[in-house]
């Protein structure tokens, strides 16, 4: 899709489906926050769930054998399907052998993945989706827009219109209750007629052959039990060794998914089940008629065993498909799975699944909608590093691209470690450090030049930088230049020493916040060093330029190693850089190097908080309230649990603090500059604007910790946002 087409597609979804998706994902999301809070040992359950999945995937081939044996021993059949076609062939054979005319089906993303409905219809079997959301989608002839709530993009009014048009009831249906009861009746009849019932399986137990189905409606129970033939389709990754292993998942799945403590029905079925099959319309007693039960378990590989061998995609197999990563994602909340999805899977982990089961092209469609903000990381019940998977897939997609017609423009200018083919737009943002260096060296001419209409036109045409977005203004004097001329604290007077990390933005665009950091730290008795350090790798990482990011990580470590040896801490102003040191560097550096750097690095206000906590009298040095502030933390900062330090310090200084509760500023670095995403970034941002522009709050000084948030707030508000460190720094001498 071209950038223009993509922008139009996103705009259309913002207008049509955005509100419904937003309303529904928010309910799930808020529900999850509340539901996990009630949980005594949330962290312990997540650790346990993660361990169990790691172990089960490790032992997968052996578990497949064990499960096959058990199910056959129980009297069922198991078929291990290599791909979609193979699975569909088996399933249609089962239906045809049994002379089936109709099949009722409960929701299963795995069955969507193989498009089994199409295969069955082609074989002359009528398929009815009985999950009410799936039923809506089936009537509308659409694809699910969410892995848990397939129809969340539709409003009640739209569903009513759809039903009234399709079924032409005597009285038009209107309320949710009427719609539900109509569907229950209609589908109840389909269940009674059905020859085969098909379900998915959320988990499978190898030692007993038990399958766990997680539902609220009860339709899966009906599909599994009422007809005499039951076909369950499940990805091979869903097997757990023992029955007891289900416990953490039972307690986590509904909470993570829809925010309920449990769904109404957690069905633990060991088929063929003892329940009698039901001969509807009969006056013979029900009891005992379970003899003619048939059970088929179709285990689907479809790329999974290869994912297991792929060190980066492997984690995807731990996923329990709860949808939390989609629900918490600001971009997903605004556009839903019809933009943020591939052939089947959508949202955060959708990239991993699509890349694994349908191939990179399917993931490419939506992979860039992940901004790497990391908000999903703490939400995932099995602790998958979802943004990392997205960056890896992005990198692989980049490598598969053809070089663009403008490639020559950047080839000579950029020192990156990428092979040709990385799209120009990504390459530009991935090399932002070089751009900033150049821009700052030639400021103010560069700033003036960049803003000229022909330049904006060219930037949009060649690099896809949206004309409506303000560009950063490069400073004439960088922080490093200022620091060289600055007389710092002599070692003898200092209680400790730190390296202040001069990130690209602080150094070239906003040296004031760097100066404020230096001033504050020195006033608190800390000697500050500002060595010439390489970039952190954040910029190329977010464009999926992994080799460049890795190279920068190594260089940076080289640059700080001696300081670490000397016992100095590393203080970062930009949270996304700190998130690299504490997070992604684990993937790039040897373990010991990673441990040393991550253990010694801090966010600037976190560090100041620590200094003051150590010596409470020092608080006097900082500039204090009273005053009213509106504070927006930063997504990665929140993921690391650091926003509290800024909040606490501001409160300690007697400021009245309003902290933003919205998920995201919408900007996320380069994302909001890109012409295909500009409108989405603004749409997300309006919520933050609303929060800070509420009546009664407009007098507050706006503070933001991250660069992108500051940029976005600057575009949204009339008030100019500042970094908290600038705000609390003692006045210059």
């Amino acid at each position: 899709m071209s950038a223009d087409d993509e922008a139009a597609h996103i705009r259309r979804l913002l207008d049509t489906e955005g509100d419904s998706v937003q309303g529904n994902t928010r309910v799930f999301n808020q529900g999850r926050y509340a539901a996990v809070e009630d949980l005594d040992d949330y962290k312990g359950l997540k650790d346990r769930a993660r361990e169990l999945k790691e172990d089960a995937i490790e032992r997968l081939p052996e578990l497949i054998d064990e499960l096959t044996e058990t199910v056959e021993e129980n009297g069922g059949h198991v078929y291990l399907a290599s791909d979609a076609e193979d699975a569909n062939r088996y399933i249609t054979d089962v239906a045809e052998d049994g002379g089936a005319e109709t099949l009722v089906k409960s929701k299963s993303m795995t069955s969507e993945e193989i498009d089994v409905n199409d295969a069955l219809e082609a074989a002359g079997v009528d398929v009815y989706e009985t999950d009410l959301g799936e039923f809506v989608i089936q009537i509308a002839d659409e694809a699910p827009s969410h892995i848990v709530g397939p129809a969340i993009h539709k409003s009640r009014e739209e569903i009513a219109e759809l039903f009234n048009h399709e079924f032409d009831p005597d009285e038009p249906l209107e309320t949710a209750e009427e719609l539900t009861h109509f569907a229950r009746e209609y589908l109840g009849e389909r269940v009674e007629e059905a020859d085969v019932g098909m379900t998915g399986a959320n988990f499978l137990v190898a030692e007993s052959g038990t399958l766990l189905l997680v539902t609220s409606e009860g339709n899966a129970r009906k599909c599994a039990v009422a007809p005499d033939t039951h076909v369950a389709v499940a990805g091979v990754e869903k097997i757990l060794p023992r029955f007891e292993d289900l416990q953490p998942f039972i307690e986590l799945i509904a909470r993570s998914s829809t925010g309920q403590d449990l769904t109404s029905y957690m069905s633990l079925l060991t088929p063929p089940v003892d329940s009698p099959t039901i001969e509807f319309g009969s006056d013979e007693p029900l009891a005992g008629g379970a003899d003619d039960r048939e059970f088929h378990l179709v285990l689907i590989d479809n790329g999974r065993m290869a994912m297991r061998e792929d060190p980066e995609l492997k984690e995807t197999l731990y996923c329990i498909r709860c949808g939390a990563c989609a629900n918490v994602c600001a971009n997903f909340q605004h556009v839903g799975g019809h933009a943020f999805g591939g052939e089947t899977y959508s949202g955060g982990i959708g990239t991993g699944w699509e890349a694994g089961v349908h191939g990179q092209e399917s993931a490419e469609e939506f992979n860039d909608l992940c901004t790497g903000c990391s908000r999903c990381v703490n939400q995932c019940p099995v602790k998958i590093d979802i943004p990392w998977i997205n960056e890896v897939v992005r990198d692989r997609i980049n490598r598969g691209e053809e070089p663009s017609e403008f490639e020559f423009l950047v080839e000579g200018l950029t020192p990156d470690a990428e092979s040709g083919g990385v799209p120009l737009q990504k390459r530009f943002f991935g090399n932002f450090g070089t751009v900033a260096k150049l821009g700052s060296a030639t400021a103010p001419v560069s700033n003036w030049l960049a803003e000229l209409p022909p330049s904006r036109w060219a930037m949009e045409r060649v690099l896809g930088i949206d004309r409506r977005r303000d560009l950063p203004t490069f400073a004439g004097e960088t922080l490093s230049e200022w620091f060289l001329a600055h007389e710092g604290l002599a070692p003898a007077e200092a209680e400790r020493e730190v390296v202040l990390y001069p990130d690209t933005y602080t150094n070239y665009v906003s040296p004031e916040r760097g100066k404020a950091a230096v001033r504050t730290l020195e006033a608190l008795g800390v000697r500050v060093l500002l060595p010439d350090l390489p970039e952190s790798g954040r910029a190329p990482l977010s464009q999926g330029m992994l080799s460049t990011a890795g190279e920068q990580a190594h260089d940076l470590y080289g640059g700080v190693a001696e300081h670490l040896d000397a016992g100095r801490d590393v203080v970062a102003i930009e949270p996304s850089d700190l998130a690299m040191f504490r997070g992604e560097y684990e993937k790039f550096l040897p373990e010991a190097s990673y441990d040393r750097l991550s253990g010694a690095s801090y966010e600037v206000v976190e560090y100041v908080y620590g200094l003051v906590a150590n010596d409470p009298e020092k608080i006097e040095i900082l500039s204090d309230g009273p005053g009213r502030v509106a504070y927006h933390s930063h997504c990665q900062q929140r993921t690391m649990g650091l926003e509290e330090y800024t909040e606490a310090l501001l409160e300690e200084l007697e400021y009245d603090v309003l902290t933003s509760t919205v998920e995201c500023c919408g900007m996320a670095g380069s994302f909001g500059y890109k012409e295909q995403y500009y409108e989405l970034a603004m749409d997300v941002g309006y919520e933050l604007e609303d929060e800070f522009e509420q009546p009664g709050e407009r007098d507050r000084t706006v503070l933001a910790s991250g660069t992108s948030c500051t940029d976005q707030l600057d575009a949204l508000l009339e008030r100019k946002p500042r970094h908290p460190i600038e705000f609390i720094a003692p006045d210059p001498l």
């Binding site: 609220s216 009860g218 339709n219 416990q247 109404s264 329940s275 007693p285």
Partner: protein
């Protein structure tokens, strides 16, 4: 708080009615709890039977689709969650607990366990080792797919729990 109190509290939060009763009051309480026509399956609780009630205990498929109330036993109650564990039986406890508008579930107070790990531990034997089937049911059937929360999607709209204190 006793396990039964916690259980009752949890059920209250799920909009499930409860009645605590002695075995002697069983028949009378069932009569109050059900809406006719009612069907049921053996409860699996010692000393308790639906025989003396108006509940039809060996239902046919026709009675299954026509009944308003289904009465079944539960093997466990999970206090923390207000869940009941409904074993599948050859007599049809599974459909009887699912197809009717009202599900009346009968539970021995002694079978109430405090939490999920304990319940799963017990089910590891009754479901896992014995290769049985059971539903952990929590509240009535529900859906939010039609634009608002509605109780009674494919399963019961209402659930009422009878807790028998021996």
């Amino acid at each position: 708080m006793s396990a039964t109190d916690t259980f009752e509290d949890s059920l209250d939060g799920l909009a499930v009615g409860t009645t605590r009763l002695s075995p002697e009051a069983f028949e009378e309480t069932v009569a109050e709890a059900i809406d006719e026509p009612a069907i049921g399956t053996p409860l699996g609780i010692e000393g308790l039977s639906l025989d003396g009630t108006s509940v039809v205990t060996d239902p046919t498929p026709n009675q299954l689709t026509e009944a308003t109330t289904g009465v079944t036993g539960a093997s466990l109650g999970i206090a923390d969650y207000g869940s009941v564990v409904l074993p599948s039986t050859p007599e049809g406890a599974e459909p009887v607990s699912l197809f009717c508008d009202l599900h009346v579930v009968v539970l021995d107070a002694d079978d109430i366990v405090p939490d999920m790990p304990t319940a799963i531990g017990e089910m590891a034997t009754t479901v896992g080792d014995d290769r049985g089937s059971a539903i952990i049911a929590t509240g009535p059937s529900a859906t939010a797919d039609m634009g608002a929360l509605v109780r009674g999607a494919h399963g019961p709209k209402r659930v009422h729990a009878l807790i028998v204190e021996q």
